[in-house]
Every structure is written in C-alpha cells, then in structure tokens.
C-alpha cells in the first residue's frame, strides 16, 4: 500500500514535467479559442457605448431582441436553406457522382475527374465569390450571355440585386465550389470497399445499379452521416461568400447569422447584440458538434 503510493508520487513528477509538451497547445487554444467564447456570453449581457466606453448591464435584453428581430428570422431561414441544399448537392449528389467516377475502368480518368472537380474547393471563397459576382452581372456576365444564346432572355434578371433570387445565386456558387470536395471524400470511401463483395455480387448476377444500391450505398453510410453533420455545421457558419457577393443585401434578404453579427457588431457598433447573435451561432454549432460526437461514439460501438 505504502510502496504503491510512494511509487505513484515518483511517477507523478515526471508526469507533470511531461506537461511541457502540451503546455503551448493548451495555452494558445485556451486563450484564443475557449476564453473568447466564455467572454462572448458576458459581453452579450451588456450594452457597450464605444464612444464613452461605458458598459451597462442589460441582463437578457439582447436575447429578447434576438427573438423579435425580423432579420434573425431571415438569417435562420437562409442558413437552414443553405444547409438543406448543401446536403442535397454536397452529400447526396456528390455520392452518386463519386459512384459514377469510381465505376470508370480507367484509373487515370478517375483521378482526373476527382482532381478537376476539386479545383474550386482549393481556391479561396473570396475569388470564387467575386468570380460569380461577375458571372451574375447583367449584360457582361456569362450567365445572361448563355441565356440569350439559348433564347431564354426572359429568364435573365439582376441575379444578385433581386431579393427573390440573390440568396439562391449565392447558394448555387457555394455548391459549385464545394461539391468536388465531398465527391473526393466519397471516392476515397468507395475505394475502401473490398472488391470481393462486388465480385460475389456479380457472380450472383447483380447489375451495376443493384451493386451500387446493395453494396456501395450501405458501406458508405458512415461517411454519409459524418458528411451531413459537417455540411450542416458549415452551413450555419457561412460568411465569406455572402460578404463578398452581397454583404447581406439587397434589403437584408441575404443576411445569414454570421453577416448579421458582423453588421451589428462592426458597422452598427452594437457589440452586446452582436455577442448575443454569436451565442445563437454557438448553440447551433454545439448541437451539431454533439450530434457528431454521438454519431462517432455509436459507430465505434457498432464497429
């Protein structure tokens, strides 16, 4: 008993000394990632006058404002719509695209398609956002040019200037940029499926579509689940594309939570309210994070 305790004491010292390996990581993550989040809650219960520097405690007022702010409604709708469309294109469509690519006989072409589709994901959203800003321009942009070419002029409009279409134009760009990334991940997941399964299915006379549905689909379900969670989390953090293409306009029709936080905090200088919007984003992304943890746990138990 005694011996055990003293050897534990001896072990404790090198143990604490070993902390030096982790100290910087803990320090920098704690200071710049965790502390601001905690601080954000404190700020959200105050109103700050940036000119006098005066801070007044307002309790939950900023949160009450969240509930009655119509733009928050717009933003939540836009973020959710973003999430749904991204899941459709970047998870479900990307799966089928990856299945088609991996069904090609030539490895060379498989890797060419994977790489080509990925290019937009490697480029910054600022560049792709600006590019599509130009593409959507009336007269000069190639979208209207194409519509005219196919005698569909009546469809053309000021894509980013019309509150009806602006957010969809942004989401479309985002799908263009992001689908190659998830297609690549699905491709890798499909490659990990043992070939014997397909051989056996073929012996049993299963055609390619049948093989896809009864082998590829169930065996990439894990990847699909993870991708849905990651995509939804990403959709609630959207900022860059909206900022570059419309900055939330016209008429706040393209505001998302991130850009509304920016507008309130950095243009209206209402840091307290911006922090409350931050808490809302925190709550939503936390839910997604917990879903992800729960999903990986469950998977490990099943595996």
């Amino acid at each position: 008993m005694r011996g055990a305790r003293s050897s534990r004491l001896q072990n404790a010292l090198p143990g604490i000394w070993a902390l030096r390996w982790i100290a910087i990581a803990i320090g920098i993550v704690g200071w710049f990632v965790y502390y601001p989040i905690v601080n954000n809650f404190l700020v959200s219960t105050t109103n700050q006058d940036i000119f006098t520097g005066e801070v007044t405690n307002v309790g939950l007022d900023n949160y009450r404002r969240l509930a009655s702010d119509p733009v928050i409604g717009t933003a939540l709708f836009n973020n959710s719509m973003y999430a749904v469309l991204s899941v459709v294109f970047q998870v479900f469509a990307a799966f089928w695209l990856a299945a088609i690519i991996e069904g090609l006989k030539s490895e060379r072409w498989r890797s060419i398609w994977r790489a080509v589709y990925f290019i937009p994901s490697a480029i910054s959203t600022t560049v792709t956002g600006l590019l599509f800003y130009f593409i959507y321009q009336p007269n000069v942009g190639i979208l209207d040019g194409l519509l005219t070419h196919f005698r569909l002029e009546h469809l053309s409009r000021v894509w980013l200037g019309d509150p009806q279409t602006a957010i969809y134009a942004i989401v479309a760009m985002s799908q263009w940029q992001g689908f190659g990334y998830s297609t690549l991940l699905f491709s890798v997941a499909i490659q990990k499926i043992p070939q014997e399964l397909y051989d056996a299915a073929r012996m049993d006379g299963a055609g390619p579509l049948r093989q896809l549905i009864s082998i590829t689909l169930p065996l990439t379900r894990e990847m699909t689940g993870m991708m849905i969670i990651v995509t939804v989390t990403g959709a609630f953090q959207v900022f860059n594309e909206v900022m570059v293409m419309t900055a939330g306009g016209p008429n706040n029709s393209t505001q998302v939570l991130g850009t509304w936080l920016y507008e309130q905090g950095f243009n209206q200088n209402d840091m307290g309210y911006a922090a409350a919007i931050g808490s809302l984003i925190f709550a939503i992304t936390m839910l997604c994070g917990v879903a992800q943890l729960w999903y990986t746990r469950r998977r490990r138990v099943l595996a």
Binding site: W21, I100, I119, F134, A201, V244
Partner: protein, 280 residues
C-alpha cells in the same frame, strides 16, 4: 490512396456513353468559369464587355503585369502569414500529440478532450471578444494577430490528425530507445517525428490551404494595406476599381494560381489528410 484497385461496379456500353457525357458536362461547368477568369485577364476591359465569350484578341500581359504590381503587398502578407502559421501550428500540434500519446501526463483524457474540443468552436463566435483582446495586446492590425489566430484555431484539428497517426505507430521503437537511455526529447526528434512524416506533410498542405484562403479574421482584424492578405486585398481592389473587370480577373487568377498548383503537386498527401480528418 489511388493504387488502381477498382472497387466498383462497371457499367454497360450505352449507359457508359451517357455517364461520360455527364461527367464531361460537369467538368465544363467547373472549368469554364475559371478559364473565363484567367482568359479575361488577357483581354482589354472593352473586349470583356463587348465579346465576353471570345478568346482574347491579342494576348496582352498588361493586366497581369499591373495586377502583379498591385497585389505584391498582399501576396507578401499572405506568404508571411501562411508560412509562419504553418510552422507554428504543425510544431505545436506535433508536440501536443507526442505529449498526449507518448508520456504519462496526468488527466490525459481531459487534456485530449480540451484540445480536440476546440474543433467544435466556431471562429465567428469568438469575433466580438477577440477585437478587445487583440487591441489590448497591441497586435490589432498586424501580421502577428493573424498568425496567432490561425495557429490557435487550427491546433485542435492538426493535433487530432497527428495524434491519430501517432497512436497507430508501434511502441517497440521508442521503448527500445528508452531502454538505451534516450530522453523523451531525443525520442521525439529522432524516432517519432521522422516516422510521422506522411501525416506531417498532410497537415502542412491542409494548413497552407486554410491560411492562404482565410477571410473572416483577415478582414476583421486588419485595416492597413500593408498587413492585409490576398483575400481581403482582392475585395478592397474590387471596391476601388469595380468596373475594371480585366484587372480584377488578372488579380484573382494570380491569387488562385499558387494554391491550385500546390494542390496538384501534393494531391496525394492532401487527400490523405482529408480522409484521416473526416474518416476517423
């Protein structure tokens, strides 16, 4: 990753022709806008307005030369911030991963949870407090601010990747070295780090991609042109000369090109990092 092992259902002839046409159409949809941008950089502005679809009449380098001069400062900032934050992030993460897998730190599960839990926290939520923090540190509107933030927000993910890799490394080698009296520092430098080379390269590539393209922090925490990185620089060029499409196309192409080249050169490592990240 791509060792030519076809794990798939092959398609019959007719269907295959149709699928090829489909893949090709998507390929055009992806590449055409990018070509339009890169070629637009060679055109004159009036050419872009008059004949948006045609090839440049004369391949003039004027826009590219002008854009090169206009973006040099931004390029330098991007390069500096990317290189330094890549080194700090990967080093700090490798140390942390070593500490979390090869030493007897007390409370290990808690520490792992703390560092990896950082992955769930979104940068947007930290914005408001960070303004005051950076101001009181006196680094608002400096490269140091971006380097610090890029490191802090990417250490969790990078540690996660390296730790997963280190957990899979056999322990015989470092145990043998320990018997021979090697210190943990020597084991880290001479044994573990060389063995981790593949994942370290993946981490470097992923971080370069992140830092080169990052916009949120760069836009909010930098003001002066000499500190701004490319993504922010492009938007301020845009507001200054919004109608000079040709010049902007050239600048956009210049800022996209390095990362596309890096992607093609390092594809293998890059894909590995991505799949380790999402697949574990």
């Amino acid at each position: 990753m791509t060792e030519g092992h076809p794990t798939q259902a092959f398609w019959p002839g007719m269907v295959r022709a149709f699928l090829w046409a489909f893949l090709f159409a998507i390929g055009v949809l992806v590449v055409y806008p990018l070509l339009w941008m890169a070629l637009g950089g060679f055109k004159s502005n009036s050419e872009i307005f008059d004949s948006p679809f045609s090839l440049p009449g004369s391949w003039s380098l004027t826009n590219y030369v002008a854009a090169w001069h206009a973006t040099q400062g931004y390029l330098f900032s991007s390069l500096l911030v990317t290189v330094v934050s890549t080194v700090t992030t990967v080093l700090i993460s490798a140390w942390a991963a070593f500490g979390l897998t090869r030493t007897e730190v007390p409370g290990k599960p808690l520490l792992v949870g703390f560092i990896l839990g950082g992955m769930m926290l979104s940068p947007t939520v930290a914005l408001v407090p960070l303004v005051r923090m950076l101001q009181s540190l006196g680094i608002y509107d400096t490269h140091a601010a971006l380097i610090l933030l890029y490191t802090a927000f990417r250490v969790p993910f990078t540690t996660f990747l390296i730790r997963a890799y280190m957990l899979d490394l056999p322990r015989d080698l470092d145990e043998a070295a320990m018997m021979d009296g090697a210190t943990p520092g020597q084991i880290f430098r001479k044994i573990i780090l060389p063995l981790c080379q593949p994942i370290l390269i993946s981490c470097v590539v992923l971080h370069i991609l992140f830092a080169w393209n990052e916009y949120l922090f760069a836009m909010i925490f930098t003001n002066s042109a000499s500190v701004q990185t490319l993504p922010v620089g492009l938007t301020s060029m845009m507001s200054k000369q919004g109608t000079n499409y040709a010049a902007l196309f050239a600048a956009m192409t210049i800022s996209a090109l390095p990362i596309v080249i890096i992607f093609f050169l390092t594809q293998r490592y890059f894909i590995r990092g991505l799949t380790e990240g999402i697949g574990k």
